[in-house]
């Protein structure tokens, strides 16, 4: 099969029946592997890693804070891609996937903000500071809330999908800012990237990076968060597809009788 044919085959999943059949087949894999990775990663990180020489035992918060923050940003980017697909190709499944992902993004952002505040208090002496990264994350959280509220506020699903897609495009600026705020402004309390930085991974730069003793369990946790995100979005998209069908059937019943 050529690359073009493979790419075209992807659009088959825009068919709700095909999407539901495929997601039901692969969902058990994602539920089980995410539970496994999260259990192994968190137990490894919590029980079997030493304290950091500067941050003491608070370093154990990294296994929740970093994966949640990564997923908060990447969830919005996934919503951006599916929203663009909706705007360009009008596939309902893609609009519903964006809608299904938003509450997952809210929870990930909330975990990142909450663990950040709890970690910040003993390290910085404050729960919160109007630091570029923290502030852009708070704005991203508000964008998530606005996105969900907009879906709920508009009755016609196609109009709701159009408007939320445009909101998603605008919010993407803040999703990118929350990732690169430290690099852009180079100020504030929050440290720069020390985990997901090319130089830190390959060891080609001399800046401070997370030691391997913390990095390996963190990597397992990140994989666990990604798998959990995929499982939740697949499952919730299936629910949105069924909810849409319920609405359509009820409308047909009303018209018919």
């Amino acid at each position: 099969m050529t690359i073009a044919a493979r790419a075209n085959a992807l659009w088959e999943y825009a068919n709700p029946r095909k999407f539901l059949a495929t997601s039901e087949r692969i969902l058990p894999f994602f539920w089980i592997t995410s539970a496994l990775c999260l259990t192994v990663g968190l137990v490894w990180g919590f029980f079997f890693t030493p304290d950091d020489y500067k941050q003491g035992s608070t370093v154990k918060i990294i296994y929740l804070h970093v994966p949640a923050a990564l997923m908060a940003i990447n969830c919005w980017l996934m919503m951006l891609v599916t929203s663009l697909i909706w705007l360009v190709r009008r596939h309902h499944v893609s609009a519903l996937a964006a809608r299904a992902a938003a509450p997952v993004g809210i929870v990930m952002t909330l975990i990142a903000l909450a663990t950040g505040a709890i970690w910040g208090q003993p390290m910085w002496g404050t729960w919160w500071a109007w630091d570029p990264r923290l502030t852009s994350f708070l704005i991203l959280f508000l964008f998530y809330l606005g996105y969900v509220a907009l879906w709920e506020a508009i009755e016609d699903p196609d109009t709701a999908a159009d408007l939320t897609s445009v909101l998603c495009l605008v919010g993407s600026v803040f999703a990118m800012l929350s990732r690169y705020a430290v690099n852009f402004w180079n100020q504030g309390l929050h440290q720069g990237a020390s985990v997901m930085r090319a130089g830190a991974i390959t060891g080609t730069d001399t800046e401070e990076k997370v030691s391997n003793i913390f990095f390996y369990p963190l990597l397992v946790c990140i994989i666990g968060f990604v798998l959990l995100f995929v499982a939740l979005v697949l499952y919730r998209t299936g629910t949105e597809i069924r909810a849409r069908r319920v609405k359509a059937l009820l409308a047909r019943e009303r018209v018919g009788g």
Binding site: Y235, R242, A243, L249, L250
Partner: protein, 52 residues
């Protein structure tokens, strides 16, 4: 069993409790709504089939 977390025990334990609690709540709410919508859809489909 719990490692000695020293003076930061509260911060670490609260972080884990809040995060795991939020993740479990998200999974539980998603699964409950999924089941409810599926049952509702099946009921309506049966009714539509019966009524032609």
């Amino acid at each position: 069993m719990i490692p000695d977390l020293g003076k930061y025990a509260d911060a670490v334990l609260w972080s884990y409790a809040v995060s795991i609690g939020l993740l479990l709540a998200l999974v539980a709410i998603s699964v409950m709504r999924g089941r409810k919508v599926r049952t509702e859809m099946e009921k309506i489909e049966q009714r539509v089939t019966r009524n032609g």
